[in-house]
Symmetry: C2
Subunit: 342 residues, 2 copies
């Protein structure tokens, strides 16, 4: 199909009866080439429709200007917004972004990470799959000193930058808000506490109770995977116990949503009789009736920060190895589902 379709620096060199080195230097604006020669070369390059072969350049330079992203699932609002933030920064800095999703499967994550390594990405941004309990695939990057940034679900023990939110503070803030709204028995729907993020949220919840001299009641803390079904079962159960709660702080928006749906169905008034607050400000949280209070994670900004950190690391030649953990601010968004006081 396309044999000699593309013109190379050699073609230009031949045409101008000069060497390819000179062409290369001219196009890279090397000061060792005179302006006159540069002009001639550039003009011809344009005329011949020269497009540099970046692959060749990458090979020689051992740099691809590409960063890899690994997320559990691309089409989840938090992740796609994060990716959008990364792309924004990467584009400005002249980097390409290769994305792949682990589908929350360890095996796929491993393959992806290896593939990105072989493709010589200059850096990697990753959020772990839910199954991930070994990290050898990431060691690959660390050993070769390739910058690595984790976000959201991070590995504490790995030498890499981390972008997180202060889940403890978030849990505290959410619970305090419910207390301020006059709720007396506040339950918590927690995710799997093997993940530090969920554990921290729970600890924040407990701390808030303590601070306000409220008792921490074991029965009011439920652990599950925060799916829609999980949320429904949890609220059902909570309403069935002897002293049921009058509010719940949910570990995510999805489970909070199903609680709202269920409470509406059985005729419990939100927020008057029961308060709900979710986590992460999914798009639907705003439009459900009643609208859902929640905590907004700055997904886009986290992507921006991750990309800045990674690219900074890539381009920072003096290997100053300080692995930062950047904690991003979260915003408490108070909507109808928990707001009953002025």
């Amino acid at each position: 199909m396309d044999k000699k379709a593309s013109v190379t620096i050699h073609d230009i060199a031949r045409e101008l009866k000069i060497s390819a080195s000179t062409v290369s230097r001219a196009l890279n604006n090397n000061p060792r080439i005179s302006q006159a020669t540069k002009d001639r070369i550039r003009e011809l390059a344009l005329k011949m429709g020269y497009q540099p072969n970046i692959i060749a350049s990458n090979l020689r330079n051992r740099k691809t200007n590409t960063i890899g992203i690994v997320v559990p699932l691309i089409n989840r609002h938090f992740f796609s917004t994060f990716i959008s933030g990364v792309e924004d920064v990467a584009f400005r800095a002249g980097y390409n972004v290769i994305i792949s999703q682990s589908n929350d499967l360890l095996e796929k994550e491993k393959k992806i990470v290896h593939s990105l390594f072989s493709n010589q990405v200059d850096g990697l941004i990753a959020s772990l799959s839910m199954q991930t309990n070994e990290f050898d695939h990431f060691e690959l990057f660390i050993k070769k000193n390739i910058p690595l940034v984790f976000f959201d679900r991070v590995v504490p023990e790995l030498k890499a930058h981390k972008i997180v939110v202060d889940d403890f503070a978030v849990g505290l803030k959410a619970t305090q808000h419910l207390i301020d709204q006059g709720y007396k028995r506040i339950a918590h729907l927690a995710g799997p506490t093997v993940l530090n993020t969920y554990r921290a949220r729970m600890e924040g919840y407990i701390e808030a109770l303590r601070k306000n001299n409220l008792p921490v009641i074991e029965d009011l803390i439920i652990y599950n995977r925060l799916t829609r079904i999980d949320g429904q079962e949890a609220i059902r159960h909570l309403l069935s116990i002897k002293n049921p709660p009058d509010a719940v702080f949910c570990g995510n928006d999805t489970s909070a949503l199903s609680m709202i749906v269920y409470l509406k169905k059985i005729g419990i008034k939100i927020p008057e009789e029961f308060g709900i607050i979710g986590f992460s400000n999914e798009p639907f949280s705003e439009v459900v009736t009643p609208s859902m209070s929640t905590l907004k994670q700055p997904a886009f900004e986290m992507g921006v920060k991750a990309a800045e950190l990674l690219i900074g690391e890539i381009e920072n030649k003096d290997g100053s190895k300080k692995y930062q953990t950047i904690t991003m601010p979260t915003e408490l968004i108070i909507r109808e589902s928990s707001f009953r006081k002025q």
Copy 2:
């Protein structure tokens, strides 16, 4: 930092006192190498932690096993789901996916497309920016015979595959549904009809009216950009005219949502007094109260199809040039906002 960090086929060759060619052939399972030698080489490769340098391979093979995607905005549900579908297929087929977003800006789109070209992607999948009215940047690919697939917003005049939905049929189906539900004066909120997709939806709407011997009333067709504000202004206006409609078919879910919110606020009962149907099945459409009827575009499947088509084209050496336009089915999702009959 990392000098001789990576082992190459030459390192393996030296160790085994054979040539690099043999190592290369062995690792590629070339039948010209004896099984015994292959085994020795593979074992050592594993032991030495050999990782092929794909960049070098790409250069030599003139193939990158990478496909590029250009979308207006990554964090829009339709697009991120589409991308997810592409990634799924691409991964299985051994391709990487480079994504970038045009932010609906022609200039950025041009830069991106050029960049992807220089990076020698093996194929490109694109949905146009809203500003795109010239196509030279895509000609680059066509001239070099690099496979190209458009989806959603497509360029009719370009030689490429296209993945679309039958917007005409969709408009017909949505409107017919409203008619079947007994609505008498049905309005339509249309997007910019320079985009063929919005025009076709409108034509389907008109066709449905005709088929049912209903008059087509100019005043009941509103044109705007379908934002939230636009939706609100449209419904306000529609209710103010002499013979107001009793239902609206909206060009997207966002505008339909704002109509629902507005109608609720002013106390008009949905679906009893007024019917609404949106378009594209955004996640929020299910949870808004009343839940919104809409049409589901198979975003993930479109991504799958696009990737299959593209990769098929990439790997199909006999240049059989038939540019397909694949029309994907849409599903009418009937929810509360338009359902008043059994």
